[in-house]
């Protein structure tokens, strides 16, 4: 009796410390990783829908030869915005959403290492997205493709402001991505629950960690290229202008040194989610955990050595191209290792066919197809035929939808009950899976064939009678079926928010820490900071598939002095310090608004306003770091 009362008092003390203030100001000031994560998920999902609508418009235009639904100008703008939206505003942010929400509860702590930077990275993502879409509002979208090859992007060939929005918008967004990556790395190294040594982390954490390191090394080349592009356009410089000694190939190198690691940045965390979800539904730990962790990290590293395979047709010397061809084949091996770890886990497990597991199975098939088509494009001479055709369009969608969207949707079915406290409909979920899976393959598989039949990508129309018509019609039909799948997902989520069965703490009988706390989690996540002794603390006493003596009920509570968490050592997760964490604050939002002003004034070349924006940003940084109580912080 008294123990329960003491626990209740403890919970309310913790809630008082960690709760976000009610009201609009409280919401805007919140630095709770769960709020940030949910905002990321919702915003990225909205961008997925917007990018999807752009794709459907293109598919209507391409359904048959010689169509004139879209003008060529609009078609070029749509495929550019579709690529930019899906790659920069959906695929990476949705994973940040999962990581932000899940990391602290996966590794047993109460927040990210830098909560305010976390809020900042969300706000910048949101405003950079709005900034990029401003080009649509003013009717001049970027139209040179998402990889925007110079010199087509120069002022001479693209005089409108569309490409300025592209260059500055991605630069702006890069701040958000970099800040997020630093935050993930520090959180992972210093904030894990006592006892969670590196070899006990969920694979999702390995995936996001690798992606975060990749971001730190991959983004600077892109940022440099974007600044050069903007300088060329705004100040008449000549970085990419061959007539003045510049080089169009410089853009391609810089872009793909960023661009190829980026592919792994947006698939490795998703593959990590797969490696964590499959064991739950197979009722056994992942086979070959160490191999998969190493495969994840080595994919990230080798991913930096393959960028030239995007440039096989540029006429570079064949000897150097052959090296990149070899590296592009070698990178298939770590993928093969993860792949067989999943198959073996299923083989030696006891599969339970719930919706999340269906999405994992579907993902594995799509991963195989996207992987082998990648090997085909990695074969240098074969790529001279395949590059810039619909074969590549097929390949990249098998990779990005197969390895990002399918795991993400499966992960929504898996973790949304934790986030909202309610289950999604299993019945609708099965329909959702089959409609998406069939629609996807009908939409994208025939594209391989179209590419082999000589259809280049990025053409707004093609003549009828070349043998491309029937396949294109099938592709368009499949795209709409796939869209219905996304619609079913939205309906299921909306339905579950009101009518879903309450999830309880652990609806899937899963083994990892996030399932030890209530759904939805309280503001402070863990009442007691857990002590971890295995990879599956929740499976230790139950089915007898994990060994260890983790302690989830007794340990540090930290309910006396504001936002406090345990700091642990990098390798072993041995407790070292009590970290005092900052609370809610409006400074991240203020800083973002100042930067938004700065970027809008840069794009309109309004220099005095730009100086004011930069000045305001500086003021915000000073205010952010000024000791004392902050705007929006609780008393």
């Amino acid at each position: 009796m008294s123990a329960t009362a003491a626990e209740a008092a403890r919970a309310s003390r913790l809630a008082a410390i960690w709760e976000t203030r009610p009201g609009v100001v409280g919401a805007l000031a919140s630095v709770d990783h769960k709020d940030v994560g949910k905002r990321y998920l919702v915003t990225a999902f909205v961008f997925l829908v917007v990018g999807g609508i752009e794709a459907l418009l293109m598919r209507i235009q391409l359904a048959h030869g010689g169509a004139s639904t879209l003008s060529p100008e609009l078609y070029d703008e749509l495929f550019t915005m579709h690529g930019v939206t899906m790659i920069f505003l959906y695929a990476s942010p949705i994973l940040s959403g999962f990581a932000n929400y899940l990391w602290p509860i996966l590794i047993g702590t109460r927040d990210m290492a830098f909560p305010r930077m976390n809020a900042l990275s969300y706000w910048i993502f949101l405003f950079a997205g709005i900034f990029i879409y401003t080009s649509m509002a003013i009717g001049d979208m970027p139209d040179a493709g998402w990889f925007a090859y110079a010199p087509l992007t120069g002022k001479a060939f693209s005089p409108g402001p569309g490409l300025d929005f592209y260059a500055l918008g991605l630069l702006f967004l890069g701040i958000s991505t970099s800040v997020g990556a630093v935050n993930f790395i520090v959180t992972l190294f210093k904030m894990r629950a006592p006892g969670m040594s590196l070899n006990r982390m969920p694979i999702l954490v390995w995936g996001t960690l690798t992606a975060s390191f990749s971001i730190i090394y991959a983004l600077p080349p892109l940022s440099v290229a974007l600044v050069m592009l903007w300088f060329d356009r705004q100040f008449g410089m000549h970085f990419f202008d061959s007539s003045a000694g510049g080089s169009p190939l410089l853009w391609q190198h810089l872009f793909w040194i960023f661009g190829h690691p980026w592919v792994y940045i947006i698939v490795l965390p998703a593959m990590g989610m797969v490696s964590d979800i499959i064991p739950t539904f197979c009722r056994r730990p992942l086979v070959g955990y160490t191999y998969v962790a190493f495969a994840t990290v080595s994919t990230g590293i080798i991913g930096f050595g393959v960028w030239v395979h995007h440039m096989f047709a540029t006429g570079l010397p064949q000897l150097s191209l052959s090296f990149f061809s070899a590296a592009s084949l070698v990178i298939a091996i770590p993928s093969g290792i993860s792949f067989f770890a999943w198959i073996a886990t299923i083989w030696y497990g006891r599969p339970v066919f719930k919706t999340p597991f269906l999405f994992m199975l579907g993902f594995i098939v799509l991963f195989a197809i996207g992987g082998v088509s990648g090997v085909m494009t990695g074969l240098l001479p074969f790529d001279w035929q395949l590059t810039d055709t619909y074969f590549v369009v097929a390949h990249l969608h098998y990779v990005l939808i197969g390895i990002n969207v399918f795991p993400v949707v499966g992960a929504l079915y898996y973790w949304l009950p934790k986030i909202t406290g309610r289950m999604l409909s299993e019945r609708l979920g099965r329909w959702n899976f089959w409609v998406m899976f069939i629609g996807f393959n009908v939409a994208f598989f025939p594209m391989h064939w179209l590419g082999i039949l000589g259809m280049p990508r990025r053409i707004f129309t093609y003549p009828a009678g070349l043998g491309w018509d029937a396949s294109n019609m099938v592709v368009t039909a499949g795209a709409f079926v796939f869209a219905v799948g996304i619609l079913l997902l939205s309906i299921n989520i909306a339905w579950s928010l009101r009518n879903g069965v309450p999830a309880g703490p652990n609806p899937w009988d899963a083994g990892t820490l996030e399932w030890s706390i209530p759904s939805p989690p309280p503001p402070y996540n863990f009442e007691v900071i857990p002590t971890v002794d295995s990879r599956h603390p929740l499976w230790e006493n139950g089915p007898g598939i994990a060994e260890g003596e983790s302690d989830l009920t007794e340990g540090p509570v930290l309910d006396e002095d504001g936002h406090e968490v345990i700091g642990t050592s990098v390798l072993d997760g041995a407790p070292e310090t009590i970290q005092h964490m900052p609370g809610d604050s409006l400074w991240p939002l203020y800083l973002t608004l100042s930067l938004t002003l700065l970027f809008y004034s840069l794009v309109s070349a309004h220099w005095p306003l730009a100086v004011s924006g930069a000045g305001l940003a500086l003021v915000c940084l000073v205010g952010w770091h000024w000791p004392g109580r902050d705007p929006g912080e609780e008393g």
């Binding site: 084949l329 067989f340 073996a344 085909m376 043998g467």
Partner: protein, 334 residues
């Protein structure tokens, strides 16, 4: 550079005309049914690679489904199942793929070696320069001296290799003839080289493969492969100065055409648009989107942009009689 914004009707017309144009080649320009090299060499790599990859997908999908749905006991001891599982990972995930990839890489190197150089001296050297949105074509002698110019159309002798030197006048384009040769980019400030050999007489469809702006979809290249004597006759015709009718030439110059176009042997020496010295002998207009008929040419002169969105040739507001005279003049340039 002026990019004129276009109207809609264009696309429909492009589609419709291209159908009749390409009625000659009914088959899709399939990379897997090559009619020349290096495409044939690439297909000899592409076919087995595709079959191997398809087999891999089928095998692993079967393994996955078997593993998921197999009946029988699944309560193996944990350490034992982990040990066997890791064997799957090492053998299936690393060793077997490593072996397959090594074989593929070896085949790839052999292919690369086989197709990197033609198997005989080139019958012609052709400088192709990409423009928004058409191809400038110049035949040069073995020592690099210019012989004659044309546009959007290559003629090559069957069974003999030709060399291409690829340049760009503005943005990046990519030269691609699916049935005969893979892609090579045309990059401003660089000269790229490739070779090709058509093994069958006929017309081959090619298309710019690197997005180059609003006219990208309407940048077709046509390759006519013909027996050696026909090819030589064609080359000789192209090398001769065209017979120029003086009234037509006057109309040509008064309309301002000479500012951009060249007619060999006359004062019209413009270098912005395609060379028109023998335009009457070509099969298509406007980089392959229109048949070269008097009607299509008249329509093009009336309003280039409505036939090809973004076309850099301006609408000169020519009178109908002037258009008629120009059409007769240009179609006479053979």
């Amino acid at each position: 550079m002026v990019v004129v914004r276009g109207s809609k009707g264009a696309t429909r017309l492009v589609g419709a005309t291209a159908v009749c144009l390409l009625a000659g080649c009914r088959r899709a320009p399939s990379t897997f049914q090559p009619l020349g090299d290096p495409a044939a060499g690439i297909a000899r790599l592409g076919w087995p690679a595709t079959v191997t990859m398809a087999a891999i997908v089928l095998v692993v999908t079967a393994l996955l489904l078997w593993g998921a749905f197999r009946s029988g006991p699944r309560d193996m001891e944990r350490a034992e199942s982990e040990r066997r599982g890791v064997r799957w990972v090492v053998v299936g995930g690393a060793l077997v793929p490593g072996l397959i990839l090594a074989c593929l890489f070896g085949t790839m190197l052999a292919t690369l070696h086989a197709i990197s150089e033609p198997d005989g001296p080139p019958a012609a050297t052709i400088r192709v320069t990409g423009h928004q949105w058409w191809w400038e074509v110049e035949y040069v002698g073995a020592d690099g001296t210019p012989l004659f110019q044309t546009a959007n159309e290559l003629h090559v002798p069957v069974g003999r290799p030709v060399r291409l030197e690829l340049r760009s006048a503005d943005v990046i384009h990519s030269f691609w003839l699916p049935q005969i040769a893979g892609k090579t980019d045309l990059i401003p400030g660089r000269v790229n080289r490739m070779w090709l050999r058509a093994d069958e007489a006929g017309e081959f469809r090619g298309q710019c493969a690197e997005f180059c702006g609003v006219g990208h979809a309407a940048m077709l290249i046509r390759v006519v492969a013909e027996p050696s004597d026909e090819y030589r006759r064609w080359a000789a015709d192209q090398s001769h100065l065209p017979a120029v009718d003086s009234t037509g030439m006057a109309a040509f110059r008064e309309s301002g055409c000479a500012a951009c176009h060249r007619i060999a042997g006359t004062l019209a020496q413009g270098k912005v648009g395609p060379d028109l010295s023998h335009v009457g002998s070509r099969a298509t207009l406007a980089a392959g989107i229109l048949p070269n008929t008097p009607g299509a040419l008249a329509a093009w002169l009336r309003s280039p942009d409505s036939l090809k969105t973004g076309a850099l040739m301006p609408d000169l507001s020519l009178s109908e009689p002037r258009i008629e005279r120009l059409v007769a003049f240009l179609e006479g340039l053979k």
